[in-house]
Symmetry: C2
């Protein structure tokens, strides 16, 4: 070993001991004839004191930032203690030292507040990873993984590795494919998830499976997506939805306690998908704050169980509302005194292309009991009051109303709610609120193909009460215009998402385990028997030999870590992430390959 102790280890009790340290030079400070060096490693920082007798050697071998050195000497009690760091009561009086490796001047400072921009830090990721901020993230990631493993182990789950070179069955996202040299003209695919394998393991009787595993999706990357990402992937046999919810509430509580020392003892709320869409405009609501949606107007085919209160706004000759399919309001607390400039700015915000609304209506609920609105000329005070009351506004609140087509308006109101929550400091990094969203629709309608697509994936079971509806009806949509009247439109999935602070951190379902139902599902997605057999023959086969009821869940490990770490970006929690073009700028990958590789793989480029 190049050291007897790490740089985070020495305490007052070690005073007088001869020790050897090794690490990186964080800072060099000269005080007269004496030189102080802060020596850093993963475990901490120790102050080294170089006395006058070492000056000649230091002049001949000057130390610079990020040099790697080894220093021997005696541990000494510091006169000037630094109680902010664990080793701050001691220093090392250096008797001799060796430069193990020099360092060029780093392209950015290795500090929490670095002067390096994103591109530079990604190119020199090996230096960026030295920064304490990044190191803390990767440590958190390690701790979350270990806590999950321990919990799952203690609950009888087995880590079983599933293959990475599998078969391409594009259904939903695009596969990455790998040409097979030994099987010319054929390709493997990288798994988008181990879904079918974990189901086969249930058929094989492994009962409780987990894996922390890389998955791959060749999608156009949005700001915070990666082509390779990691899942905590789990499956259980002989379970119903409630068993899964309870098991994985336990896992998340365990992670909170183990990693963050947070006792999450609150009941974890549950909400149906319909309720989430109605109340928050979103299937992964951030419930750290209220500001719930007031659905003033909505089309007759959505939320059929809810009562319409369109009379509150209709018939005032305000064409925007009268002609709108949907009008939704939120009451923003304490913002009645916003200036014209401020309401204009919010209006501009909702008109941005990402939000896409045409404008914004506001009602100020003044503390003196009066109302002031941008649509004063259409609505008198009593009507303004009725609308504000419906939105749950209190004196001092600002009611914001959006109008337009159903989907866009709902989404925009949800975005506006989140934005106002952020501006008002209602979305705190250190507050955590978990939520289960349940009872998703099993299918979505695909207009292009006039067919159904699986909202979750094709292996998700319908609710037990909907199985007969699925079996006994023809999935074909005869009348595209009236697809909502097809019995499949109302089938609910036996699926669940776990939401943390407005982010989906996990999702899963009870699976189909009967061949007949699985075939019906594939048929609904437009696969004929031949295609079913070609793509999923192994799974249909497995269901013939005693498949047990089973279900599971997968957590987005990168996302879970980033939220627990209080960050918006998953990239900060991945050691070697890729950029938005799917490139690793440090490696400069992907890259061209040799002619020999093309020849061996029997493929060639076909650039357009």
């Amino acid at each position: 070993m190049y050291r007897s102790h790490t740089n985070g280890e020495l305490r007052l009790a070690n005073a007088g001991q001869e020790v050897t340290l090794a690490g990186w030079v964080q800072t060099v400070r000269k005080f007269g004839a004496i030189t102080f060096v802060d020596l850093r490693d993963r475990y901490g920082i120790t102050q080294l004191l170089f006395g006058e007798e070492l000056n000649k050697q230091l002049e001949e071998n000057p130390l610079g930032r990020e040099f790697v050195i080894q220093a021997k000497g005696k541990v000494n009690e510091r006169s000037n203690k630094n109680l902010n760091i664990a080793t701050g009561e001691i220093e090392l009086i250096v008797s001799n030292f060796t430069i193990l490796n020099k360092s060029a001047v780093p392209p950015f400072t290795i500090q929490d507040d670095t002067d390096g921009g994103d591109d530079l830090r990604m190119k020199y990721r090996y230096l960026d990873l030295r920064r304490n901020a990044v190191k803390k993230n990767l440590e958190l990631r390690y701790n979350v993984g270990r806590a999950a493993r321990n919990y799952l182990h203690n609950n009888g789950f087995m880590d079983i590795e599933t293959p990475f070179l599998i078969k391409s069955t594009p259904e939903g996202a695009r596969d990455f494919v790998v040409p097979s040299r030994m099987n010319p003209g054929q390709f493997y695919a990288l798994p988008q998830s181990p879904q079918t394998f974990k189901q086969l393991l249930m058929v094989s009787g492994y009962d409780r499976y987990y894996q922390i595993v890389k998955c791959f999706r060749d999608e156009d990357l949005r700001a915070d997506r990666q082509p390779e990402f990691t899942q905590i992937d789990c499956e259980m046999a002989f379970v119903e939805q409630e068993d899964i919810l309870s098991m994985f509430e336990g896992m998340v509580r365990h992670i909170f306690k183990d990693v963050k020392d947070i006792d999450y003892t609150d009941t974890i709320e549950r909400m149906t998908w319909e309720e989430a869409m109605w109340t928050y405009g979103n299937d992964k609501p951030d419930i750290r704050f209220g500001m719930q949606l007031c659905n003033l107007k909505f089309p007759s085919h959505t939320f059929t169980t809810k009562e319409s209160i369109a009379s509150l706004i209709n018939g005032a000759d305000f064409q925007v509302f009268d002609s709108a399919e949907t009008v939704i309001a939120i009451a923003v607390p304490g913002c009645a005194e916003y200036t014209r400039k401020q309401t204009d700015e919010i209006t501009e915000w909702v008109k941005r292309p990402q939000i896409g609304m045409k404008g914004l209506v506001f009602i100020k609920v003044n503390t003196d009991g009066t109302y002031k609105s941008s649509v004063d000329k259409f609505y008198d005070e009593s009507r303004l009051k009725a609308i504000a009351d419906a939105a749950g506004a209190k004196p001092g609140d600002l009611v914001l109303l959006l109008a337009g087509t159903e989907e866009r308006t709902r989404k925009a109101t949800s975005e506006l709610r989140l934005e106002m929550g952020k501006r008002l400091g209602l979305r705190k990094d250190n507050e955590f609120r978990l939520l289960w969203v349940l009872d998703f629709p099993l299918f979505e309608y695909d207009e292009d193909g006039n067919r159904w697509v699986a909202r979750h994936h094709p292996f998700t079971s319908p609710k037990p009460s909907d199985i007969s509806t699925m079996i006994n009806n023809n999935p074909v949509i005869e009348n595209a215009a009236e697809y909502l009247k097809h019995p499949y439109a109302n089938i609910k999935a036996n699926a669940y998402d776990m939401v943390l602070n407005g982010n989906e951190i996990g999702g899963g379902s009870i699976r189909i385990f009967q061949r007949e139902l699985q075939e019906k599902m594939f048929a609904a997605l437009g696969m004929d028997a031949e295609e079913q057999q070609h793509k999923f023959g192994f799974l249909l086969g497995a269901f013939e030999y005693g498949a047990p009821p089973h279900g599971g869940i997968a957590f987005g490990f990168d996302r879970l870590c980033s939220i627990l770490g209080g960050s918006e970006s998953i990239r900060d929690f991945i050691a070697f992430p890729k950029n938005n073009a799917g490139r690793d700028v440090m490696l400069d990958a992907p890259a061209s390959i040799d002619d020999k590789q093309f020849t061996e793989l029997q493929i060639k480029l076909n650039l357009q």
Copy 2:
């Protein structure tokens, strides 16, 4: 939950309780009006008793092998106890049952001694995985992984994920490549190991890294290779060879104790590569038994420190030995009484193409003090005695001698030794002998390119004493015929392999951490500066910013598990293995892909 207890859980203490069980029907036996069913799950088997009152229901819903059922009833003490299984003191008196899923008759029996052939079992792997023999292997694998993780965690190692979509830098084995849709004409490669990433993590100061990780090599598959395989991959900073050896001896001892309850307290033997080749003809010797090689004759350029004893065989007019480059003997214990038929059979064995020798000479060391040999007419008794003594033969032993060119003869003698060890029962599945092999040559000579190749990999450091030889000499080989005289031919690597029962289970090295030395290494392998920069610019760059001394090791996880499980085949320890053509016969992968995928990836086939 579909059950209140598992099938491995109920004991006499549960007698009288009302419980619900679920699982697979292992057997159905009728005794008069009563039916017994053995119900199986991952945890065990519980006997169910169906009384007369259920006969009508059983007739209407007959149970078959591998049916999945749920059964409710009362736990009862068995009159006829089966003390071989944990639940053997009780049975469940079934009050009612439900068939959760039927099963077709499986294509082979789900038993330890199955009647299914290899191909059939691979096609229906999900059924093969139900067999106890396979389940035990995967449980062992899980236990080995968990023991390794716990040991590494307790020693300060952090699990850090490295990327799977990297850059192709073919050097040694062939890469699997992945076309990038977002970067047309460019390809990712799948990692052959996380080697450079773990080194970067050391440069980044993570100090102790590990990962249990999939790696990929596109090689022609021998009997027991897989295109994707798993490594326990580890790296440490500020270490020398001795630190690594001691840390990972500890890990393997921990695994032995934790998984096999074996206290491996013996000192783990160490042997140089030269000594291993001299004594066992092999760089991964099985030291569970002796039968060491007696090197009667060898070329002057190999084992230059060893004394030649060729005079024992030379000059007897036996042309085969006189003209041979190499003659090696082993003394097989207790086989002096082999019949002519038996010695002939061994002769045929060494003449098989896989071994490739022209013949075999034997000397029987009879217990009466006489000698009998196949070359009696060339060697008198005193010479036969001298040869047998040199080979360490005792009365009753059979000395076997092989002659030919150095490499083939040494390899053949090693194979013969292993074969005789196997035949004599000296290689016991339940005996474990660990060994470190040290001081490998750093380079091998590549005749085709008249250049050096790295024996381990290009990141392995030479021994500290050989660094100046490497730096101060030109790696170019001016005179191909005399490459052995090049200073690089004698450079030893700072590398080590861990060998268990004749299998390499782990290998690693202290790494180069200085840019100059790394450049020299790349140059020795024939890479010019431009190629170095293109392929490994990131690593050379990292070495400029304070790279610490570091080293590591990787264990072949599949192999380690198979040896601990007492099996020759790694395939038995992989949930979903591929066959020798790299195919997953269950999935039928690899397979063709859609035209749309070709178009999006901008590649096409170029079949020859």
